[in-house]
Homo-oligomer: 370 residues x 2
Amino acid sequence: MTATVTDQRAYNFSAGPAVLPVSVLEEVRDELVCLPGARSSLLEMSHRDKVFVDILHDAENSIRSLLNISDDYSVLFLQGGAALQFSMIPANLLRGTEKSAAYIQTGTWGKKAIAEAKKEGAVNIVYDAADSNFNHVPSAEDYSVPADSAYLYYCNNETIQGVQFPSEPVCPDSVPLICDASSDFMHRPLDISKYGMVYACAQKNAGPAGVTVVVIRKDLLEIGSASLPGYLQYKNHAEADSEWNTPPTFAIWVLGKVARWLTNDIGGLEAMEKLNREKAGLLYNAIDSSNGFYTGHAKPECRSLMNATFVLPNDDLQSKFLSEAADNGLVALKGHRSVGGIRASIYNAMPKEGAQALADFMTAFASKNG
Amino acid sequence: MTATVTDQRAYNFSAGPAVLPVSVLEEVRDELVCLPGARSSLLEMSHRDKVFVDILHDAENSIRSLLNISDDYSVLFLQGGAALQFSMIPANLLRGTEKSAAYIQTGTWGKKAIAEAKKEGAVNIVYDAADSNFNHVPSAEDYSVPADSAYLYYCNNETIQGVQFPSEPVCPDSVPLICDASSDFMHRPLDISKYGMVYACAQKNAGPAGVTVVVIRKDLLEIGSASLPGYLQYKNHAEADSEWNTPPTFAIWVLGKVARWLTNDIGGLEAMEKLNREKAGLLYNAIDSSNGFYTGHAKPECRSLMNATFVLPNDDLQSKFLSEAADNGLVALKGHRSVGGIRASIYNAMPKEGAQALADFMTAFASKNG
């Protein structure tokens, strides 16, 4: 049966929720009705059952090990997605302070984060790429961050525009750097010690929808006020080891399996980065060698390794591209409704064969229709 | 393989996350790697894909149909559990008003809700059962609710204490009645038109952890301020049809399957109530006919149909009970760490055979050890 089911699957370029490793899906399937040794499904098990607590700790430890996270940081599993983080970050770190928070705006997700932050306190947009239609990230000399900022916030990879920071923004030592890594968490090694906080909703690069990973430096836990809604105070979750209330147990289970796959099957984040660069290279090469048939949105130096965004000469060709791609087993390639065009999301779990199949299709389509 | 896996399963009396229908688990397993007709797993599918949007609407419609919910109400699928509702309710309906909110406190969950409400505004505890160790719910003559209250809040079934309201509290027409139905949602028919809002985290009686169902009268959506964190404002979720941000897609999928099981396999909420009364009757009869070997916590007139709580003559016998029960395939019977004793949770998905097996075990254990 397995082979048949797997054969029905297409290469899925969805921007999120997004492709997961087939081996992880098969493991989840096999353990779904009765978790081995547990006498019930994981879905039916108390979050305080030792079996689940071990699963939660294993997921945390896999992430800590992959990213080399020190004990100076807490790793939390929360609900509410990046959207709730947009509010929780300023509610904890800005509300009630005399400070202002610095934001770099390089796309749709950063813009949404800024809108929520403004409800909580003073926001200082130190760089805004809106005027160039969010096609790039700034260089170090393009902006400066006041040393007394509450924090500096940025989104490392803007999925809708397909622009990604090649390295961390410049940030004064006195200012905690906060990164929305929702769409590229664990896509390459990261020096967590440079950050105050890194967070990611899981459903793009790390697992299913329903869980958000927050890696936060422990001193920052002390800033949020106890007058906040309890769920919104990071400290509550850290002190309760992500069991302040019932966590999203299934999503954490799958997230842990994906982290183990990264470690055991891929061989860690350096190997993952190498593979991701190869996959992205295939697509960008298909764009660049199309004699202008495909036009990439992002400036080449900040092209995303996760989401390749491009347009075709006209809407008719775009529709034809999507339809023929689907016939060839290449699905979910339509760009975000806010920008149009084509978006190919090639997260960690997209196999190189998938990127190769799409690149081949792009080249053939361009030569037939160009 | 199915038979073997099912044989490994025990009767699972966990208070939450809790037992699910085996047929639902088997369906989830069979569709996990590739959703029929969808070319990917549900876990990998965009929440804006028509296939998932249909799944979300089907889940909503099943709930609307089971509870006969009119168009005057929105049905929302949120994250953050009951714990976030403890804050969202007063943040939307109390914060910034001149009113006070009325609360009935009959157990641990009501108490937690009150603690969060006090952060948002004036709280008026109109009845408090703490002095009697939360062993009952009040009668209509025990309390009164000021007609200008922002709302009246209560928890219909207190899982930890095992006390349940046999019918709605009395509430002036001018005051929206708000019910935490987390542990008994859809356990029997409910006249939603009596309520301003009914909500339930799913992981006790309706599905897996990670989704919370909110049924809210549409006029109440207008009260919450746009200055709230976006995720906390009910109106945002209602206007976006629960897709204000990525919803917990898997949990909604399973919740929809459970609602369909209630409709098709059980035959609706009247049939469910009849079955639940039979199951609870078996356990309470085992307590009442034990000549005092078992002592129930709740007063008989407000015994929970969902969680039967009781103690044995001493701790040694309690440990022996738990250990021998597990040997007999009856697991997760330990009472909540805050109160001790035994708690048997017999939610909708616990088959009558499971309640019968526990009742038989209880009677045999009492006669051997009494």
